[in-house]
């Protein structure tokens, strides 16, 4: 009897602990790539009714060579031809983990980080910020098309 009670008490403790850890582990801003994609797609649909994200357009954006930056003409310059591969920063030489969540699960899970790098890298490569539609296409390519 005592054993059963103890076991029950222990398991309750573990469940509570596990729940606490589960609740504490993800940062407040954690998201899935699908959630991020939906947010950008919804924003794009408000601007262009009927918008549907396209992995094909995302792939084209990823590979396209722009003229804004000599050292970084395309996403692929640093991230290689495939976002499943590790890349290298064209200026500093620093190793870059793969961009596709399939190869690097932490990718596209932190909305603030994703926004920061879209803002910075779109400005660097294309010479302007990317639209919500482009971001949605890009994430669709990262998650489905690559």
């Amino acid at each position: 009897m005592l054993k059963t009670v103890l076991r029950a008490a222990l398991s309750t403790t573990f469940v509570t602990l596990a729940a606490a850890i589960t609740l504490a582990a993800p940062a407040a801003s954690a998201a899935t790539p699908a959630q991020l994609l939906n947010t950008y797609a919804a924003e794009a649909a408000r601007q262009t009714p009927g918008f549907q994200p396209s992995a094909q357009r995302g792939a084209e954006l990823y590979a396209r060579r722009f003229t804004a930056s000599e050292k970084m003409p395309a996403c692929a310059t640093c991230h290689t031809d495939s976002p499943l591969q590790a890349g290298r920063h064209a200026v500093t030489g620093k190793a870059i983990k793969p961009l596709a969540p399939r190869a690097e699960p932490a990718r596209f899970t932190d909305p603030a980080k994703v926004e920061k790098w879209f803002r910075r890298n779109c400005s660097e490569v294309t010479g302007r910020e990317c639209s919500a539609a482009e971001k949605a296409d890009f994430i669709r390519f990262m998650t489905e098309g690559s």
Binding site: V91, G93, K94, A95, R120, E124
Partner: protein, 173 residues
């Protein structure tokens, strides 16, 4: 003041202002780094030790983040201030005049100081052949981990040199 006193204080000054030389193989990031330091200063390049530049140099680096060696890396003012305070707290206290005397002019006038342009960095790397700096595995002199296998942990010992062609050099030391 006697000549002896003068000599002694000069010697002391020399010792105090000598670059890291002897301790250069250990340069970990101090534990009181603000949370944003590694995220903001360690994504495009390795997060560098604050001891690699002097306080005035760091002020110039973080004072013009919109012109960061050709890149606009502006961050919010609060984060910038925290990072600046941290860098200055642990900055090199080397003698400014000695430090600057033989520093090579930066390639672009607008560029902030480069830690790879300091006399200390050049001296420490004087044996590195020019071809290696241009190697596709290295790309930039600021890419410490390309050669220093444990650079991200703040360790720069010769025996940790990672490229095969550097192994030979290791054996000579």
């Amino acid at each position: 003041m006697s000549i002896l006193r003068v000599t002694r204080s000069a010697l002391l000054a020399a010792v105090l202002t000598t670059p890291l030389a002897a301790s250069a193989d250990k340069m970990p990031i101090p534990a009181d780094a603000p949370a944003a330091f590694r995220a903001e200063c360690g994504d495009c390049h390795m997060a560098f030790s604050p001891a690699l530049l002097t306080a005035p140099d760091w002020r110039r680096v973080v004072g013009q983040l919109d012109q960061h060696y050709g890149d606009n890396v502006r961050i919010d003012e609060k984060t910038r201030g925290e990072i600046e305070a941290f860098l200055i707290r642990h900055a090199s206290t080397r003698n400014e005049r000695t430090w600057r005397r033989d520093r090579a002019a930066p390639p672009h006038r607008s560029d902030p100081p480069r830690l790879t342009g300091t006399p200390w960095f050049r001296r420490e790397h004087r044996e590195v052949p020019a071809s290696l700096w241009r190697d596709t595995r290295v790309v930039s002199a600021s890419n410490c981990p390309a050669c220093h296998g444990r650079a991200e942990e703040g360790s720069f010992r010769k025996r940790e040199l990672a490229l095969p062609e550097l192994q030979r050099r290791k054996e000579h030391h």
